[in-house]
C-alpha cells in the first residue's frame, strides 16, 4: 500500500506492506536509523517519535496509521543546525551512556515538558515510565530534563 507521510518536514510517498510498523518504515525505508528498537513488546520506548507533535512509540503504530500525518524523529529536532535544548541538556548533564535509549528519551522528554513545563522531579520520573534505560539509573536523565525545564522557563 501507498503511505504518504511527512517526516522531519519532508514529504515522502512510499510503498509499504500493510503490516509495516512506523518504526520499520522510518528505519528501513527512509534510512532514519536514529529511532531505535529495543524490545518486541512496546515497553522500552527506544522507538519514541512525535506523531503530529506528540510522543508515540513507533513500534506500536502501523505505517498506514501514520499516513497523512507528520512525524518528527531525533534527526529532526535541531533548529537551524543548533542542538535542541533537550539535546544540550542531556549532553551537559551526562544524561546518556551507551546512547541507545537516548533518542527515545529525548523525544519523550520534549513532549513531557511541552505538556508539563514546570514538571517536578517526581513528575519527570513518572513521565518516563514508558522509557527504559539500563546505564544511568535515570539519575542524570532526570537531572537533564530538570535542567531543560529551567532553560525552557528562562526562555519563555
Amino acid at each position: 500500500m501507498r503511505v504518504t507521510i511527512t517526516v522531519n518536514g519532508a514529504r515522502h510517498e512510499v510503498e509499504a506492506e500493510p503490516r509495516t510498523l512506523l518504526v520499520d518504515l522510518l528505519r528501513e525505508q527512509l534510512g532514519l536509523t536514529g529511532t531505535k528498537i529495543g524490545c518486541d513488546t512496546s515497553q522500552c520506548g527506544a522507538c519514541t517519535v512525535h506523531l503530529d507533535g506528540h510522543a508515540v512509540k513507533s513500534c506500536t503504530v502501523l505505517a498506514a496509521q501514520a499516513s497523512g500525518h507528520e512525524v518528527t524523529t531525533i534527526e529532526g529536532i535541531k533548529t537551524g543546525g543548533a542542538l535542541h535544548p533537550m539535546q544540550e541538556a542531556f549532553w551537559e548533564n551526562h544524561g546518556l551512556q551507551c546512547g541507545f535509549c537516548t533518542p527515545g528519551m529525548i523525544m519523550t522528554a520534549i513532549d513531557l515538558l511541552a505538556e508539563h513545563p514546570d514538571a517536578t522531579d517526581e513528575e519527570i520520573r513518572h513521565g518516563l515510565e514508558g522509557n527504559l534505560c539500563r546505564c544511568t539509573g535515570y539519575h542524570n536523565i532526570v537531572k537533564a530534563i530538570r535542567a531543560a525545564t529551567a532553560t525552557t522557563q528562562a526562555v519563555s
Partner: protein
C-alpha cells in the same frame, strides 16, 4: 566532593568534561549494529528450541525454503565442519567437564532458546515468517532447572561428559582451620542464600553482520562485542581454524553490555559462516525475546554460609558452599566467574582469619550463565555483607560496629586475605573506615535510628542497611590469571598506540572497547593532561581489529586501570622522544630539558622552549633529527598489570516497608565509593548511578524465572522486573580518594562498584525494617508478595510460639 580537595587547576585529568562521543548519540547519527546496511544484504532469522531438553530426530526445511524471498535454510549439519565454541576460562587447578554450544545444535538441545536452524531471506520479516515453516521432530527429554537439585542422585543427566551435572568442583582456603574456628566460635550463624538469576538487558540487543570475500578468503564480521580482538581470536583459531589475518572484527557503536557482550556466541559464528556459504552480506539482529533466552544470564547461586565470631563481633571464620548454575552449555568464560571472581573475594573488607569456599559449577536445562556486571564480586559481597549483619543480629551488636571491628585497617596494606584465598595477590590500598564514616555522616544514622524507633511505635517499618565492600578491578596479571594459575586461557594485558601527527594532533588507538563508558573522553583527557595538548586535539579510535593493536577488551573495570595505563606508558615514551628531539632543536643536553604542559624547555629558561606541535612537526618532516633517531612521534605500549586494583566504599540504603502490602519503598540511597584517582567525575558518578540501579533492581524486582519444564517465564520486558525511573530516588554520592600504587595513574576502576555494593545494602535494610518481626533473612527479589509472605509467616510463627 567533600572529602577531596577541590581541584582548581586546569588539568584535564580530574575535570568533569562533557563527553566527546555524545554529539553523535544525541542526534541519532551513531551507527549501531542494527543500523548497518550493506548493498544486497540478506537477513537471518534463527529457529530456536521450544524445549529445554530434547533430542532432534529430524528437521525438514523444504516448506521454508520454498517461501518467496527465502534464499537459503540451514541446519546444524551444514556447519558440522566448524568446531564447537571454545570455553576460554575454565576453573583453575581442577578438572572441568566442558560442553559448549555450536553455531547451530545438531542432535540435541539443553536449554530453551538454543538455535537449531537458520533462514536467510530478503527481509527480516520474511525470514521470521519462514521459521514457522520449518518442521522439527523433537523427542523431549527430562528437565532439571535448579542448580542444587541438579547435583542430587536421580536428577536428569544433561551431558555424558559431566557426571552428576557437575562442571567443576573447586575449593579454596583452609578447610581444617575454618572447621576448628567455627567449632570454637561464641557466635555461629548459618544461612542458605539464593542469589537469583538475572537477565542483563542491555537496551541494545545483540546482533551480527558479515561479509565474505571469496577472492581473499577473508571475513568481515560486525558484532555487538565488548572485545572484538578476542572475538577474532576465538573464531579464527578455535572455531573456523583459519588465520587471524583472514578475519576482521568490528564492534560498531555498542548499546550497553554489562558483561553480556563479552562472549563469543553461536550467532556470530553462524552469521560469518552463512556469509561464506551464500556469498551474500548478511545480518542478524536479536529480538528481545531471543535476548532473554539466548544471551547469557548472570548470578544464579545457591549458597550455604556459616560464619563464626567472638562475643564482641570479631569474625573468626567464614565457610561457604555454593552451587553455581551455569546453564545447559558453557558460555565463553562461565567457570571463571563463580571461582576466581567470587571465591577469591570472600574476605570482603574484613580480616577474616579462616576462610573456606567450595563451588560446584552445575549444568541445568536453562540459558547460559556468565559474567554480568560485577561478575562474582556482587555474589561474594552479598555473602559477606549478609554474614556481617547476621552476626551483628545474633550477637546483639550494631552492624556499624561489627564492620568497624573487622575492617582491614589502613596500615595493613598491602593485605593478603587469610587462607590464601586470593592466591598470592594482595589488596593494594584502602581506608575503609573513612568511607564508612563519610556515608554515616551523610545519611545521619543517629537521627534515622530515632525516626525508626518512633515509626515502629506507630506500626511503620523503616530500615537502614549497610554494605561495606571491596572489589577487584583491573583484571589481571597474566601470569596470575593465566592457565597455570586461575585457568584463564590467555593473557590479560592491554595495549595502546599513540601517534602525534605533523600538526600536533594526536590519534590514540586502543584495544579497549567502549560500549557506553566514555573511553573516547577519558583516554583523551589522560593524553591531553600528560602531553599538554587540548582535549579536542586527541582522537581515540577503538573497536576494529583492523587498525588497532590487539587488546583483550572491556570488562572487569579494566579499561582505566589496564587499558589507560598502556596509553599513559605510551605517552611517557612519546615525551621521552620529544624531549630528545627538543634538546637537539635547542642545542641542549637532553638531561637538561624539562617537559611541562606541552612545552620542552631548558631547565631555568622556560621562555625558550619548543611546543609539542613544533616538536611533532620536526619529528614528522625529519629534516634534522638527532643522530640515530627515527622520524615521527609514534609509540605502542603493552601493559600487563602487576596486581589487580581494589576499590571499596560503603553504601547505605534507607527503606520503608508497607506493613500491610509488603511493598518496599527506597527512601534514600547514599553511596561513598573510593575508586582511586578519578579521571572524569561526571563519568565516574554516572557509572556508579547505573551500577546502583542494577544492584537495587536485583534486590527488589529482577529475577529470571524458569518453570519446572525449563520454560523462561520472564521472557520479555513485560514479564521481567526491569526498573523504571520512578522506582528510584535521586542517589546521594560522595567519594574518598585513595590512589592505588599498582599503576602510575593511581586509578582503580569504577564500572562495577555500584552493582557490587548496592544489593546487600538493600536486603540488609529490608531485614532491618522487619527485625521487630524476628525476620533475619529473605531471599531476593524482595517483591511485595515475597515480603508480605515473610511477614505473614513470621507473625504466624510468633503467634504459635506465644500460644
Amino acid at each position: 566532593m567533600a572529602t577531596t580537595e577541590a581541584d582548581t587547576s586546569t588539568r584535564a585529568i580530574g575535570a568533569a568534561i562533557k563527553r566527546v562521543e555524545d554529539p553523535r548519540l544525541i542526534t541519532g547519527s551513531a551507527r549501531y549494529l542494527a543500523d548497518l546496511q550493506l548493498p544486497g544484504m540478506a537477513h537471518v532469522a534463527i529457529l530456536r528450541s521450544p524445549f529445554a531438553h530434547a533430542r532432534i530426530r529430524s528437521i525438514s526445511t523444504e516448506r521454508a525454503a520454498a517461501l518467496p524471498g527465502v534464499t537459503a535454510v540451514f541446519t546444524g549439519k551444514d556447519f558440522e565442519h566448524l568446531n564447537p565454541l571454545p570455553c576460554a576460562w575454565q576453573a583453575g587447578g581442577v578438572e572441568n567437564h566442558v560442553v559448549t554450544p555450536r553455531a547451530l545444535e545438531i542432535d540435541r538441545v539443553t536449554f530453551t532458546g538454543a538455535g537449531v536452524a537458520a533462514v536467510v531471506a530478503d527481509s527480516a520479516a520474511i525470514a521470521e515468517d519462514a521459521l514457522e515453516l520449518i518442521d522439527v521432530d523433537w523427542e523431549p527429554l527430562d528437565v532439571i532447572v535448579d542448580g542444587e537439585a541438579a547435583t542430587a542422585d536421580g536428577a536428569p543427566q544433561i551431558h555424558e561428559a559431566a557426571p552428576g551435572n557437575v562442571v567443576m568442583d573447586w575449593s579454596i582456603g583452609d578447610a581444617e582451620g575454618t572447621e576448628q574456628a567455627l567449632a570454637e566460635a561464641d557466635v555461629v550463624v548459618r544461612q542458605r542464600l539464593v542469589n537469583q538469576r538475572l537477565i542483563p538487558t542491555a537496551m541494545e540487543t545483540r546482533g551480527a553482520a558479515a561479509q565474505y570475500d571469496p577472492v581473499t578468503g577473508s571475513y568481515t564480521v560486525w558484532m555487538t562485542s565488548q572485545c572484538p580482538h578476542v572475538m577474532r581470536l576465538l573464531m579464527t583459531a578455535f572455531v573456523f581454524g583459519i588465520s587471524e589475518t583472514k578475519m576482521r572484527c568490528i564492534s560498531p557503536q555498542v548499546g550497553g553490555g554489562f558483561g553480556s557482550k563479552i562472549f563469543l556466541y553461536p550467532e556470530y559464528v553462524l552469521v560469518a559462516a552463512i556469509a561464506e556459504k551464500t556469498g551474500m552480506p548478511v545480518k542478524w539482529v536479536e529480538t528481545r525475546r531471543e535476548n532473554y533466552t539466548a544471551t547469557t544470564h548472570g548470578r544464579d547461586h545457591i549458597t550455604y554460609l556459616e560464619a563464626g565470631a567472638t562475643k564482641d563481633g570479631t569474625i573468626t571464620a567464614l565457610r561457604v558452599k555454593t552451587y553455581a548454575n551455569l546453564g545447559g552449555v558453557l558460555s565463553t568464560i562461565a567457570p571463571g566467574i563463580p571461582t576466581t571472581l567470587y571465591g577469591r573475594m570472600l574476605s570482603g573488607a574484613y580480616r577474616i582469619p579462616n576462610i573456606h569456599c567450595q563451588v560446584l559449577g552445575v549444568y541445568t536445562n536453562t540459558g547460559m550463565v556468565d559474567a554480568y556486571r560485577g561478575a562474582g564480586r556482587p555474589e561474594a559481597t552479598y555473602v559477606v555483607e549478609r554474614a556481617v549483619d547476621l552476626i551483628a543480629r545474633e550477637a546483639g551488636l550494631d552492624p556499624v560496629e561489627v564492620r568497624r571491628r573487622n575492617f582491614i585497617e589502613p596500615g595493613a596494606f598491602p593485605y593478603a586475605p587469610a587462607s590464601n584465598v586470593l592466591n598470592g595477590l594482595e589488596y593494594d590500598t584502602g581506608d575503609y573506615e573513612r568511607a564508612l564514616d563519610r556515608a554515616l555522616e551523610i545519611v545521619d544514622l543517629e537521627s534515622l535510628r530515632r525516626e525508626q524507633e518512633q515509626a515502629r511505635g506507630q506500626g511503620r517499618l523503616i530500615g537502614v542497611g549497610l554494605s561495606s565492600y571491596v572489589e577487584m578491578c583491573g583484571v589481571a596479571p597474566s601470569a596470575w590469571i593465566g592457565a597455570a594459575g586461575e585457568g584463564w586461557g590467555a593473557g590479560l594485558w592491554e595495549s595502546a598506540n599513540v601517534r602525534v601527527h605533523l600538526t600536533g594532533k594526536v590519534v590514540v588507538t586502543t584495544g579497549s572497547q567502549s560500549h557506553g563508558q566514555g573511553h573516547e573522553t577519558t583516554i583523551a583527557q589522560i593524553v591531553a593532561d600528560e602531553l599538554g595538548v587540548p582535549v579536542e586535539d586527541v582522537s581515540v579510535e577503538h573497536s576494529d581489529t583492523q587498525g588497532t593493536p590487539f587488546g583483550y577488551g572491556t570488562y572487569g573495570s579494566r579499561s582505566a586501570s589496564v587499558g589507560a595505563v598502556a596509553v599513559h606508558n605510551s605517552v611517557e615514551r612519546i615525551i621521552a622522544k620529544a624531549t630528545r628531539i627538543a634538546a637537539h632543536m635547542l642545542e641542549a643536553n637532553p638531561a637538561d630539558i624539562v617537559y611541562e604542559n606541552g612545552v620542552a624547555s631548558v631547565k631555568g629558561s622556560p621562555d625558550k622552549g619548543k611546543t609539542i606541535q613544533e616538536i611533532a612537526a620536526a619529528a614528522a618532516v625529519a629534516y634534522d633529527l638527532p643522530a640515530g633517531e627515527e622520524p615521527f612521534l609514534d609509540d605502542t605500549a603493552y601493559y600487563d598489570p602487576p596486581n589487580c586494583t581494589f576499590p571499596f566504599g560503603t553504601h547505605i540504603a534507607v527503606v520503608e516497608v508497607d506493613a500491610h502490602t509488603g511493598e518496599v519503598t527506597l527512601r534514600r540511597y547514599v553511596a561513598v565509593d573510593d575508586v582511586g584517582r578519578v579521571i572524569n567525575p561526571l563519568i565516574v558518578d554516572g557509572q556508579i548511578h547505573g551500577g546502583i540501579a542494577q544492584g537495587v533492581a536485583q534486590a527488589l524486582w529482577e529475577g529470571a524465572v524458569y518453570d519446572e519444564n525449563g520454560q523462561l517465564q520472564s521472557s520479555s520486558l513485560l514479564d521481567y522486573g526491569f526498573p523504571k525511573a520512578e522506582f528510584f530516588p535521586a542517589f546521594e554520592l560522595d567519594r574518598t580518594e585513595t590512589r592505588t600504587d599498582v599503576n602510575p595513574l593511581g586509578v582503580k576502576g569504577a564500572g562495577e562498584t555500584g552493582t557490587i555494593a548496592s544489593t546487600p545494602a538493600i536486603v540488609n535494610a529490608v531485614v532491618d525494617a522487619l527485625a521487630p518481626l524476628g525476620i533475619t533473612h529473605i531471599d531476593m527479589p524482595l517483591t511485595p508478595e515475597t515480603v508480605w509472605r515473610a511477614m505473614k509467616d513470621a507473625s504466624a510463627s510468633r503467634t504459635a510460639s506465644q500460644g
